[in-house]
């Protein structure tokens, strides 16, 4: 069990590193597309590592499956949102909300 705890700890610390990196990127990168890159890459990897770390602590297969589902749904939402923001940056006429 101590080994599992160790794996979890390593995953969570690595996750914190990616979240920190992504946040610094969002704050420091100069333009929208680079900031988006920092946010999606680091967020997805960070959340994935959090989920991976927690899977080793899960009491049953069902709990582990639910954790992974959370990650997959976040990936779908993040990829879609990033694509919408990116296409809005690339071509302002495609902005959808409010049809300005």
């Amino acid at each position: 069990m101590i080994l599992l705890d160790l794996v979890t700890a390593v995953c969570l610390i690595a996750a914190a590193f990616f979240f920190l990196g992504g946040t610094v990127g969002v704050l420091r990168f100069p333009d929208s597309l680079s900031r988006l890159h920092a946010l999606t890459k680091a967020d997805n990897l960070g959340l994935g590592l959090v989920v991976l770390g927690l899977v080793f602590q899960a009491s049953s297969f069902l709990v582990a499956a639910k954790l992974v589902l959370v990650w997959v749904l976040a990936l779908v939402a993040s990829a879609t949102g990033a694509n919408l923001i990116a296409s809005s940056v690339a071509d302002p006429s495609r902005r959808t909300a409010g049809s300005e």
Binding site: V76, A79, N83, L84, T96, A97, G98
Partner: protein, 306 residues
């Protein structure tokens, strides 16, 4: 360690709230408001109120956030906010007395009390459900919940009266991944809504949370997968928006006739009646959120003339 986490959460909540009030642009303020809602739902989790956390995340941060984003988009994202809302002295002047009064009231309370917890738990068996929060909302204090459902209905009727029932434009082929993602998420959201509704009888969950998830699914479907948004009108509109209030009323009157008290359920049928009311309220909540969100979009005709 746990105290540290709670302190960080509380400090973050205050910080985000102040930033939201002081944000110079509407868009920033709305995004900070959504972040505030998500932090608040974490606080509810820490306080052991999972029902409130679910409701705050789904309705407070989720659907209300989307509603405010839509409003900000129509007003113009970068629009400067009135200066009056941003002045620090005004904020402090208004917040301090309120915070003081709440503080005084809190400390005036008699220490640790169980509140009505014991009473609720003692009579939980008669309520027809196993989750105390659901027992209070749908049985012991059903009258309050019925009135809340009516408030929501009144809001929908108000929006409908102003915006009309003409078709609205969908957002069209905004990007390739969006319709595909929605098609993946929709079935999951519907299952999740049904699960939350069913789970409400034994654990945190219930009609409002289920309605928020189903309503979000409906908004996504109509907005992304339909070329134009035809909102239900006439009888269908009335039935979907009013179902919760009507079901509550019918069950309540049946209780008055059979048990001699409005909203008094016979103990043997209480569980089934509560589930029926919750199903109706979930459908109405979903419909209400759809009407509130999509009803606020400018209709096709307005857009052509503009």
């Amino acid at each position: 360690m746990e105290t540290l986490l709670d302190l960080l959460l509380a400090a973050g909540l205050v910080l985000v709230a102040v930033r939201a009030i002081h944000a110079p642009a509407l868009f920033t303020a709305v995004v900070l408001y959504i972040a505030f809602g998500l932090l608040l739902s974490l606080v509810w989790v820490r306080l052991g109120a999972a029902d409130l956390a679910l409701a705050e995340a789904a309705i407070g941060a989720g659907v209300t956030g989307a509603l405010l984003l839509e409003t900000a988009a129509q007003l113009g994202f970068g629009k400067e906010r009135p200066m009056a809302l941003r002045g620090i002295p005004l904020l402090v002047l208004t917040a301090l007395p309120v915070a003081g009064a709440v503080g005084v009231a809190t400390f005036a309370l008699a220490g640790e009390t169980a509140g009505l917890k014991e009473t609720v738990l003692a009579r939980l068996q008669e309520s027809g459900v196993e989750h105390p929060v659901t027992a209070v909302l749908l049985n012991f204090r059903g009258y309050d919940t019925w009135l809340e459902v009516i408030v929501l209905l009144a809001a929908v009727l108000g929006v409908r009266a102003i915006t009309g029932s003409a078709a609205r434009p969908g957002i069209g082929p905004a990007s390739a991944p969006l319709p595909r993602s929605v098609a993946v998420v929709l079935p999951l959201a519907i299952v999740m809504g049904g699960y939350l509704l069913w789970r409400g009888t034994t654990a945190p969950g219930g009609a409002f949370q289920a309605g928020a998830v189903l309503g979000s699914a409906g908004i996504l479907y109509l907005l992304v997968l339909r070329p134009t948004i035809e909102l239900p009108r006439g009888v269908l509109f009335g039935a979907s928006a009013g179902l919760g209030a009507i079901a509550f009323l019918v069950v309540g009157m049946a209780g008055l006739a059979l048990e001699g008290e409005f909203l008094e359920y016979p103990t043997s049928a209480a569980g089934l009646l509560i589930l029926l009311i919750e199903l109706a309220v979930a459908i109405s909540t979903a419909a209400a959120l759809i009407f509130l969100f999509l009803g606020a979009r400018p209709s096709v005709r307005e857009e052509r003339s503009a």
